[in-house]
Amino acid sequence: MSKYIFAIYNDEDVLMQNIKPLRSNGVRIKEVYSPFPVHGMDHLIGHKRTRISICAFIYGIIGCCLALIMTNYMMITDWPMDIGGKPSFEFYKNLPAFVPVIFESTIFCAAHGMVITFYLRSKTLPGVTAFVPDVRMTDDRFVMQVECNDLSKKAELSALLMKHGAEEVKEYGK
């Protein structure tokens, strides 16, 4: 497993400006922790675009299909009811009345499926112990997680990070 050190920044813009110069010096940045979403950060440190909205679309299609099957089976195939003489023996004729239920089921499956996927993929679940290199990272500090496999180079790497805007460099739990 790789070893890491953590560079603390007090300004998101300073951190972002220093990502490129640090990388060109061979520094490997694993992740950046911030108290709020910083636009462009994910792109700068090389995260791919998330595909979670594609998941949502697929869940939505599943919800829509389930509702189509349900309404067709219950009201057309299994037990057609003559309600006020309205057409209820052919699916396409009765479909307009089913649209609200189909719509709600689509949204239900898309929204919940997406949120559950988000929680699972981000390992954000009840009972998970948080990875907190510095407690100020949810308040007003920005923490850069840097790979440091050779601990003899730690001092050198720390100096480089300090030169590039970090206000402090530390190890996990220290």
């Binding site: 813009d13 979403p37 309404t71 929204a111 954000t124 112990t129």
Partner: protein, 466 residues
């Protein structure tokens, strides 16, 4: 994103990110003051009264209410529609204003969403008591049952309502909770006591704020907002169809969906004003929920109030213009018949009073806004009462004519539901971060007083560099 330096700041008082954390966590970390306790005791008392009145309804039956064979929907459905409508503003603020990139939503979305959740819970309690046998609510769901292969009727707006309200409630709940997770993590990382660390650590689900998680978080928020927008419109559309698909004069109109949605947003924003004007004072959040926020919400109240006013007048005109004598009678009877006082209250509170918000000094006056927000909600309650009771008490045949007066049990359930709502809201204000601080911190560099001052001095905002 560029923001004009002359535009008023959204965060006052030169707040740094750390000060924002301090200000918003203070009410959670400190002790509750005496105002909170007094409000809480009063709310719990009303809640106990609700338990008592609901117990009587469930134990003795719906006969304890004033509804009868002629007016068979009374305060129960009036209150259901009123509460669901109030809920709509929370979704409008968090979803629609997110899609429109309105940054002023950031200080108010959290409490508005909480209001949505609690209002929908209150609405659901009216449906449960209204069905008379609240231990059988699963009859509303399409489940295989012991009565042969009889299913729910998917042609019925009441079944659409089951789907719409349950989807709306659960989606709003996860939207709200997902937004809360980063803020729970803030409280967790500041916690001084073991208990705080444990509880907020559990609630935070192990959130760290890595850029990958923020990237997903933002995508999830955006897509949820995109789905919640048609969802919230569909909910009150379907509620309006509970009425509009019937053939009763006064209910059988095609303008109901847009008219109900506008009314819902109108009453919901009024309730947000009522709550936030108290919250900003009691929790000292005047630097975050500013006069600008109140002004913005008042503008929405003005717009939606005007839509509601136009809808009332259109309804009246069409009743005459259609030439249907039953329809004309229903509307003339609303204005001049047995329940004229309810109609007059509705017209005064909903059509005339919001027009006062054309005046800027009134829109930015906090006391006036507070009073008017309550007036609007009284008006919107009367709107539902007028629609339901005045149409039902004079149907087609004179043998279907009658009157309706609520019993003390119905009144008690309504007052009790306010107790339920405020008990939930006070607990929320005590234990949860009432402002989405993690999201609010995204605008300290573009819309705080210090950023605006710097922008005026240098001719641009800091954020404009990027």
């Amino acid at each position: 994103m560029y923001e004009a330096p002359i535009r008023e700041p959204l965060i006052l008082g030169d707040k740094t990110n750390h000060e924002i954390t301090e200000d918003i966590c203070r009410p959670i970390e400190g002790k509750a003051n005496k105002y909170w306790w007094w409000c809480f005791i009063a709310s719990v008392a009303a809640l106990l009264w609700w338990v008592f009145c609901v117990s009587i309804t469930v134990g003795e039956g719906i006969g304890m209410w004033g509804i009868n064979n002629i007016v068979d929907w009374g305060w129960d459905i009036t209150n259901f529609v009123w509460w669901v409508g109030i809920g709509h503003a929370g979704t409008l603020i968090s979803a629609v204003l997110l899609l429109f990139r309105q940054k002023w939503r950031l200080s108010i979305n959290r409490s508005a969403e909480a209001m949505t959740i609690f209002a929908v819970i209150c609405a659901a309690t009216f449906l449960l008591t209204h069905i008379g046998r609240p231990w059988l609510p699963y009859w509303l769901l399409p489940l295989p049952n012991q009565f042969g292969s009889l299913w729910v009727n998917f042609n019925s707006p009441l079944v659409w309502d089951t789907f719409a309200v349950s989807t709306y409630f659960t989606v709003s709940l996860v939207f709200w909770y997902t937004g809360l997770i980063p803020d729970f993590a803030v409280v967790r990382d500041r916690a001084k006591t073991k208990a705080m660390k444990f509880w907020y650590g559990t609630l935070a689900f192990g959130w760290t704020g890595s850029s990958k998680n923020w990237q997903r978080f933002e995508e999830v928020s955006l897509v949820l907002a995109g789905m919640s927008t048609p969802l919230v419109l569909s909910v009150h559309t379907i509620v309006s169809m509970d009425f509009a698909t019937s053939i009763l004069p006064g209910w059988h109109t095609t303008i109901f969906p847009p008219y109900f949605v506008a009314g819902a947003i109108f009453s919901g924003f009024a309730m947000v004003q009522t709550l936030l004007i108290i919250v900003r004072k009691v929790l000292s959040l005047e630097n975050y929920i500013t006069t600008l926020h109140i002004d913005m919400m008042n503008r929405i109240i003005l717009v939606t109030g005007s839509i509601v006013g136009i809808a009332y007048i259109t309804e009246f005109f069409i009743a005459w213009y259609s030439g249907v004598e039953y329809e004309s009678y229903a509307f003339i009877n609303r204005a001049t018949g047995y329940y004229w006082w309810a109609y007059a209250s509705m017209m005064t509170c909903n059509v005339i009073s919001p027009q006062l918000f054309w005046v800027k000094s009134l829109r930015t006056n906090i006391t006036f806004t507070f009073i008017l927000s309550i007036v609007v909600n009284i008006g919107m309650w009367f709107e539902r009462f007028v629609i339901i009771v005045s149409s039902l008490h004079r149907a087609y045949l004179p043998s279907e004519w009658g009157t309706y007066h609520p019993s003390w049990v119905e009144v008690g359930i309504f007052i009790g539901s306010l107790g339920l709502f405020f008990t939930c809201f006070l607990l929320f204000a005590r234990f949860f971060p009432v402002i989405a601080m993690s999201e609010l911190k995204t605008i300290t560099k573009s819309s705080s007083t210090q950023a605006k001052r710097a922008a005026l001095e240098h001719g641009h905002t800091h954020a404009a560099h990027h």
